[in-house]
Subunit: 413 residues, 2 copies
């Protein structure tokens, strides 16, 4: 490994995350959630945040192996509530306007075999106890940013053929490439990236499609209703007080929140999905009246079923996202086994929580108003990849006109 | 390094800590504070706690390099308050009767050069915000245990002449030896160790000394008043509901809390003191009417002075402890640069918080009653070593009789 280049890239990556991802303001608090496997990177992010004027940085370390010990040893009831202090930590960070930074580095196999009722209970309890926190994220009250960091167990899965040190180095390089860190000025590169979404976003918003129809040779045959006054987003987000940020780095998607009550047909997965530390492969979902009514997976059936049990809206769609089959991340040829990356390699859908900012005026609407307008509300949000080289997507207008959106896995306009 | 022996010792150490140190009960919560440098050991302790029936283990990781970044970058006011969530974490653990386990592994030089006003402010704020937590520890409401774990930066200071991996291995071996982990059955060894204190403890308690007089050739010439109905403790502690535990592992001391208002004379240090991540060497303290009125250090004068500024009682004694000069830890020849270990190599004193259980019925007395009885109350507690091979300690009874306690650094009875 070229250590100087690596150190240089890591530094540029940390700067990019704090400056562009979080758009950290002088005097602001930064809240970092990060694994014990990434201590060095946590220090680098903290130093960078202070260099950019943070008032204080709160770093919350979690450890996957300890989390696994909890799952293996604690009874279900332990996961059915969130300690008050932990809820207060999240909620107070949101209340005080901290930038919320999550660094993901999970071993895709860390939780294989655990009782799925436990992470489900945990998600439900967390969403209830940390409502102020999640609302702040969903309703644009705070900046939030999810990024990746290489760690040995994850790297081993992505690059199984090489020694682990080399796998970690290769995973870092893949992360740097995916996040444009190798550009001479990554911050400028991300500004250009943000702008690159505008033309297609504008076209999609002008169409005001009533539905999207998906077809491919794997058997996908699905129609998804879109909301009146729905908005396509992509290339970054903005808080209600006008701070631009990037919720995900990388991001290659144009996305919206569909009508939670309208989805009919069957859709087939095109990439493995890592969920709650376990793998789901070769799966299909059948929708009826917007709800998943049947699911089949060659691997991970219990993990797949658990997704839809989180709450009554967990089986309804919260997101449709469009990414051409030849996206840079797909072209890298790397399967990351991490939704943060893999969702940018493929058209995808997500069940669970929808995005209020994908509806005109959505961020100031009440929960009931959002539900009535078609924006789903759930304690979960799980993306799954459905893009194939022969995927056809057709937009259907309110007047019944059919307009090609994707042709053979690529933009049709 | 003999990896099998090391793994075996580490496992025995974790078992000993959970079983003897914490005396963890089935269904109990365990609260571990530990450095990110000791992640593997945190996992081992967690696994052992579950194996011994813990209901849940809460692991709070801290990172010294990030703490240093806070000190270097945050203004003083940040340290003058404790985030509500952090106070709630500590207080709720005490309220729920968790066993409180702290693992120390500090780099003795981690905080050299920081503004001492910051850790002082932090200690004061923490003591106020976490009053329920500290009271639970001081008044025997919860089990608490402090142990050591080797980490590279610390090991480098203790064993500077060898490569760092070897230094870490040697430090682990020194910890194992000091904590009797190398005994065939460490749990039994600690029971025997507990019992070994009884005879001398009983003798000391029977004397009901009114004062102790310290003399040596370095210039120490100090008389410390002892409390009426004071109690000498040592070889483990007990909660008010009768759970036996070891607050410190190792422990070689017999100790009591002296009269906060009576100390006269000068005392010279016999070992370096690491405090707030900085070294204090070759220092002396002059007491008048129980209070430090002058202090001089060859190294770390500002750090030394800061100790007494924490609050109005930080310059008064909270502890006197007797350890023969030939204690096992002194005989190991290792200077640990860590009070947890070094205090067991030497007679010492501590300024700051006293021990309510060193007074008859003390754990059920109010703060005012304890103060009136002579037990000091402070947000800090700092031990410093004063034992030399020529130290003479004389007990003075209420009737003025002089009885030798230490002669030439060793027990005189």
């Amino acid at each position: 490994m070229d250590t100087t280049a690596f150190t240089n890239n890591l530094q540029k990556y940390a700067q990019l995350i704090i400056k562009s991802g979080c758009n950290l303001k002088a005097g602001q608090e930064l809240f970092i959630s990060i694994s014990t496997e990434c201590v060095e990177f946590a220090r680098l992010l903290t130093a960078e945040a202070y260099a950019q004027g943070a008032r204080h940085v709160t770093v919350k370390f979690h450890d996957e192996k300890i989390a696994r010990l909890h799952y293996d040893n604690c009874p279900l009831e332990v996961f059915e509530s969130v300690p008050e202090w932990a809820a207060l930590l999240n909620n107070s960070m949101a209340r005080e306007g901290a930038a919320i930074l999550s660094v993901v580095s999970s071993d895709p196999y860390a939780m294989v075999g655990i009782d799925q009722a436990k992470p489900v209970a945990s998600a439900v309890a967390s969403h209830a106890a940390c409502k102020e926190f999640y609302d702040a994220l969903d309703l644009g009250r705070v900046v939030w940013c999810i990024v990746g960091a290489a760690a040995p167990a994850w790297a081993r899965v992505v690059f199984p053929a090489v020694p682990v040190e080399q796998a970690v180095a290769q995973l870092w390089d893949a992360i740097f490439a995916a996040t444009r860190v190798t550009a001479p000025d990554p911050v400028l590169a991300w500004e250009a990236h943000r702008a690159s979404f505008n033309e297609r976003k504008q076209w999609l918003n002008e169409q005001q499609f009533d539905a999207l129809q998906y077809r491919n040779s794997r058997g996908t045959h699905l129609t998804i209703g879109l909301n009146a006054r729905g908005i396509w987003q992509g290339g970054g987000d903005m808080t209600i007080d006008g701070t631009a940020f990037f919720p995900n780095m990388p991001t290659e998607e144009l996305f919206t929140t569909p009508d939670r009550l309208r989805a009919e047909g069957v859709v087939y997965s095109s990439l493995p999905l890592v969920h709650n530390g376990a793998l789901i492969e070769d799966f299909s979902l059948r929708f009826k009246e917007g709800r998943v009514v049947d699911c089949q997976a060659a691997v991970g059936q219990d993990v797949l079923e658990a997704i839809f049990k989180v709450d009554q809206n967990a089986a309804r769609l919260g997101e449709v996202a469009l990414i051409p089959y030849t996206s840079p991340i797909r072209q890298s040829g790397i399967l990351f086994y991490s939704t943060l990356f893999d969702e940018n390699a493929s058209c995808h859908l997500a069940v669970g929580q929808g995005f209020p900012d994908c509806l005109e005026g959505g961020q100031t609407k009440s929960e009931d108003e959002l539900l009535a307008a078609g924006v789903n509300k759930s304690a979960t949000h799980v993306d799954f990849m459905i893009g194939t080289p022969d995927l056809q997507i057709t937009g259907i207008t309110a007047s019944g006109e059919h307009i090609p959106v994707f042709k053979d896995g690529e933009w049709a306009f």
